[in-house]
């Protein structure tokens, strides 16, 4: 019940035992360079889709690593696959391939 007109944030505790790491395992196998990410956010800063809407590829990668895939399923289709993020990344993460690999996972594991 929301009596006060503002929300209380959901709890941000991460339960590593119950979260779903399946997508992460799949993606890391196909795109090992994901391990190199330092979460600098360069990919998001240059993102074509991110300029038009709230879409944050750095966050989606982070969610995947935490095993929280719900938001990925809801958001991923906003990416245009333009590839700008690969060129920006200072760590050589193949972000575009990571996105494709996530897409493939989602397609093959339709709920």
């Amino acid at each position: 019940m929301n009596f006060w007109g503002f929300n209380i944030s959901e709890t941000r505790s991460i339960n590593y035992d119950t979260n779903d790491k399946d997508m992460l395992i799949h993606v890391l196998q196909e795109v090992p360079s994901c391990k190199l990410c330092i979460e600098c956010g360069g990919c998001t800063a240059g993102c074509t889709a991110g300029r038009l809407t709230s879409f944050n590829i750095r966050k989606l990668q982070m969610f995947m690593k935490r095993g929280e895939n719900k938001e990925i399923r809801e958001e991923l289709h906003k990416c245009m696959l333009c590839g700008k993020c690969i060129l920006v990344c200072p760590r050589g993460v193949d972000t575009r391939k990571m996105i494709l690999s996530m897409m493939k996972y989602i397609k093959n594991n339709q709920k």
Binding site: T48, R51, L52, L81, C82, L87, G92, D94, R96, L100
Partner: protein, 589 residues
């Protein structure tokens, strides 16, 4: 009636082959989309058919394009194809002259030396015997070359010869044995009855000195006929299916049938038209720089044909088009590769709903400038284009200055056509609402898709073409300087869209352009292509390093390209020579 049981294997083989081919081609053609079948009907009785016949003569028989790439290889292919063709034609004429009738069974000409009693002469019999021997000796020489090629492929200017399956090796052996078998059969007959000319006659006399020819000759003819029959039966399931299929492909291509987005019967025909000449192996930078040796069209198409798993090979390709430009059969290699990439997207109302249309421009500008996503990472290109527009006093509007939308091609080259289509439609609306007459883009990737996949009714130009036009119209003040430049033509621009002359003109007018062997459609890929999702960043860097090395060898002051992605990719690895976009060179001059 001339008949003997030994002609049976040949005749049965030939008939089976012909029936099989007719059924197969009919099935494939029936699977074409309607529009392509209409094109066939229209093209059938037009000049295009004559053009096709000429092309078949030049390519399927003379192998003129392979000749241009590699003369020894060309000679080898030519002796086989043209030699066999001549043997059949002259054999047929000879048999008709002898028999004074056009109607004799097909085997009669093939086994003429068996049926024709040598002592009986007819008009020109000596000449015919000489010609037939001459052609046969050419063929035998060709086989010799082929055998040598198998063992020493270096001599043919090729790093490697195509790897074969055991089945293909069997068929290859049968093919190689056919002409030696003919030679033996004819010499044996000549040794017994006389006849033949310099080759078979002399050989016959020689064999007669130590072999019991009377016992062997009949068996030799059986062998010859059986080898022919066996070859015909094996042909449809071997690489030699390319012989009839290439002919069919040339007709269909000239009648206007196109490789579309789907993999269909036309793709199958092209897949089967590949002669496995192996030319595409040596043009591929994945082979030369990364030592990847299973993805080049020759192997990829073979996987398609043999229904082996091709999912990795389908994605492991830069779509640079270097192989397509070199392929002597002219197969649409990029389009076929793309047609095998699965669509991973599911399009709903929500897809890209966040892209809002732009308001209609009140006073439309003449030119709409679309920089492209990648250009926003190379602000130098955008700045230069703005300078050029200002210098030439062009009234322009910048479509994707803020909040640009991707052109859709990056989705499309992953096979995601459905999502790509949504992006394309959104973008097209935005471009159209600008009301401009010319669309200028800085990115060859956008340029290609604007031209091929959008339905824009305005003129579409890449900035190289646009600058060239401004220079020709004298709208841009020019200062030629002493800068030594080489031009790296981006894959999507040169091979992809055929823009070759414009950038060269421009560079020649503003700098000292050094010609290279990689000019125009021979350019190298920068390695940054979005089309390849298999190789990793180290491999991309390797390709890019090799490309930079190749262009730097001409000792330019600057490597000039015309694509933001190429500029970024090459710029990362080129440490000693700067990499610039052609717009930057023009703006600075």
């Amino acid at each position: 009636m001339y008949y003997d049981n030994f002609v049976l294997p040949f005749t049965i083989g030939l008939i089976t082959l012909l029936v099989y081919l007719c059924v197969r081609y009919y099935k494939w053609i029936r699977s074409f989309p309607k529009i392509d079948r209409i094109k066939i009907r229209r093209g059938l009785f037009s000049r295009k058919t004559l053009v096709s016949i000429k092309e078949i003569f030049m390519e399927s028989l003379l192998h003129h394009k392979i000749f241009k790439t590699n003369p020894v290889l060309g000679y080898m292919h030519m002796t086989f194809a043209f030699g066999w063709f001549l043997l059949i034609i002259f054999g047929k004429i000879e048999s008709m002259v002898y028999h004074t009738s056009a109607f004799n069974p097909p085997y009669f000409a093939i086994f003429f030396r068996y049926f024709h009693p040598a002592k009986e002469t007819f008009p020109g019999s000596e000449t015919f015997a000489f010609i037939m021997d001459l052609i046969l000796s050419f063929l035998l020489l060709g086989i010799l070359l082929a055998v040598i090629k198998r063992f020493y492929s270096k001599m043919f200017g090729m790093k490697r010869t195509t790897k074969q399956r055991p089945y293909d090796l069997l068929v290859l052996t049968v093919l190689w044995l056919i002409f030696p078998a003919r030679f033996i059969a004819e010499s044996f007959s000549s040794g017994i009855n006389g006849g033949g000319s310099f080759l078979t006659h002399s050989a016959g006399e020689f064999f007669a000195t130590f072999l019991p020819l009377r016992n062997l000759s009949y068996g030799a003819w059986w062998t010859y006929s059986s080898l022919l029959g066996l070859f015909f039966l094996l042909l449809p399931f071997s690489r030699y299916m390319h012989i009839p299929t290439e002919i069919v492909y040339i007709f269909l291509k000239n009648w206007g049938v196109e490789q579309r987005k789907q993999y269909n019967g036309f793709s199958e025909i092209q897949t089967n038209a590949c002669s496995r000449c192996g030319i595409c192996i040596n043009t591929c930078q994945l082979n030369n720089s990364c030592d990847i040796k299973d993805t080049q069209p020759v192997y990829f198409l073979r996987r398609l044909r043999n229904h082996e798993d091709f999912s990795v090979q389908s994605e492991n390709c830069l779509l640079c088009g270097r192989c397509e430009a070199a392929c002597p059969v002219g197969i649409n290699l990029n389009a076929i590769r793309l047609s095998t990439r699965p669509d991973l997207t599911r399009v709903t109302k929500e897809t890209y709903a966040y892209i809002k249309p732009k308001a209609q421009a009140e006073t439309p500008a003449k030119v709409a400038y679309f920089a492209g996503c990648m250009s926003h990472l190379t602000p130098g290109i955008i700045r230069s284009m703005q300078e050029i527009f200002d210098k030439a006093k062009v009234n322009y509007t910048f479509i994707d200055e803020e909040e640009g939308v991707c052109c859709g091609r990056p989705q499309a080259i992953c096979g995601n056509w459905k999502a790509a289509k949504v992006l394309m439609d959104r973008n097209q609306e935005r471009i159209e609402s600008s009301g401009a007459e010319i669309l200028v883009t800085s990115c060859p990737i956008c340029y290609k898709t604007f031209k091929e996949d959008y339905t824009l009714k305005i003129k579409i130009m890449h900035h190289t073409e646009y600058i060239d036009m401004l220079l020709q119209e004298g709208k841009l003040p020019l200062h030629k300087n002493d800068l030594k430049t080489v031009f790296h033509n981006p894959c999507e621009l040169g091979r992809g869209c055929g823009v070759v002359d414009a950038p060269n003109h421009v560079l020649e007018q503003v700098s000292q352009r050094i010609p290279t062997r990689y000019d125009g459609k021979n350019s190298l890929c920068c390695g940054g292509s979005l089309a390849n999702t298999v190789i990793d960043s180290q491999q991309k860097t390797k390709i890019s390093t090799d490309t930079v090395k190749a262009y730097s060898a001409y000792q330019p002051d600057v490597i000039v390209t015309a694509c933001p992605l190429c500029k970024k990719t090459l710029g990362k690895t080129s440490t000693s020579v700067p990499v610039k976009d052609i717009a930057e060179i023009v703006a600075a001059s």
